[in-house]
Symmetry: C2
Subunit: 203 residues, 2 copies
DNA sequence: GTCTATAGTTCGATAGAC
DNA sequence: GTCTATCGAACTATAGAC
């Protein structure tokens, strides 16, 4: 063996891999999955196209990794937002505001992650991460029911309804880039009413 | 010209094409898109695999056509259900019950159409047909607001929220085949409350 | 990482329609 | 007699197993 993978080499490879994912994320954030060709990703990462395949079995694997990393951060952000909030209603509102607020800051990226037709592997991840979001919301609903703040209801079903609603509400504005200014307030009112909160008005 | 496409031939070709779509639909309804290989579709339609390519440019085109035909029927069914109903609330309830009821009768098919990871071309159609469902619901909401039955709200945004909610609520049960018996009632209560109907109780 | 199996697609030959 | 639709085996690529 003339070559051993020393810690230094390993660190460089890890950094290279992270650079590839970052370059691909940036391209997706700018122009969607369609713009994230292997050659463009490689060019932005400062490497040769073939080097991408040292880290990923193919383009689909790379895009799946981008999805995992970016959406994983979104799930964390939403989870943390619910932990800062108090009542169940506040927690659900925090989910919408956090989710929508972050999406609107990088609309092209959000559209790509939420809806852009890409690859069955990414579809698979969409399903999985939707379940992760749903669990966060379901916890809030279940707590609210336990405390008596919300009427009795099937927390899992209602949580999936809310997650589906939030996602679908954002797809339109994100696709066109034209966000009706009362999209988020409407979603909040809808969600608040839907879970049976006693006061559904918003100044 | 020694050969012209006569009406008889054309009719036979049309029937053959329809037979291919039907065979593919049946396979998807039984075991999902994964079971709809070109050779199996051809076998069920009683033709050779190559003949499929006289009608469709490729497998993706065939699956897209299956989606168009089947989901087109679903949109029609939901639209007709809303036309039979009276008030806005009844129309929204009719959407859930029709949509969910038909889905539960052919759960494997419904899952395939709603969520099964397949091909970007089908993803594209999912987005398009979701907009069609949303328009039906938005009409009901807008009418309800106009008549004073519902509080003022952005009908388009609320309709997309409802469509997203209904779809997401069904994905779980359809994927597992285990439908929690109060899934649909929960969805109805959620939807009724969400649109601000005054009476959200259900016996 | 290699190998095998399977699935999508192509294409020359054949049969049948005009 | 010419043209077209169909067949089905061969090719190619991809994916899963070891």
């Amino acid at each position: 063996m003339a070559y051993r993978r020393t810690p230094q080499i390993q660190a460089r490879l890890d950094a290279q891999r992270a650079g590839i994912v970052q370059a691909a994320s940036d391209l997706v954030a700018e122009s969607g999955y369609a713009a994230a060709s292997v050659s463009r990703v490689a060019a932005r990462a400062g490497i040769a196209p073939g080097t991408v395949y040292n880290h990923f079995a193919g383009k689909a694997e790379l895009l799946a990794e981008v999805f995992r990393v970016v959406v994983g951060n979104e799930v964390d952000a939403v989870r943390q937002a619910t932990q800062r909030a108090g009542s169940a209603v506040e927690r659900v509102v925090a989910v919408v505001e956090t989710f929508a607020g972050r999406a609107m800051k990088r609309p092209r990226l959000a559209y790509a992650l939420l809806a852009e037709p890409v690859d069955p592997k990414v579809d698979e991840l969409r399903l999985r991460f939707r379940r992760a979001f749903t669990e966060v919301v379901a916890d809030a609903i279940a707590d609210g029911v336990r405390s008596g703040e919300l009427p009795p209801q099937n927390a899992g079903v209602v949580a999936s309804a809310l997650v589906g609603a939030f996602g679908e509400v954002l797809v339109g504005p994100l696709a066109t880039g034209q966000a009706d200014p009362d999209t988020v307030p409407t979603a909040i009112t809808f969600a608040t009413r839907g879970i049976g909160a006693t006061d559904a008005t918003h100044a």
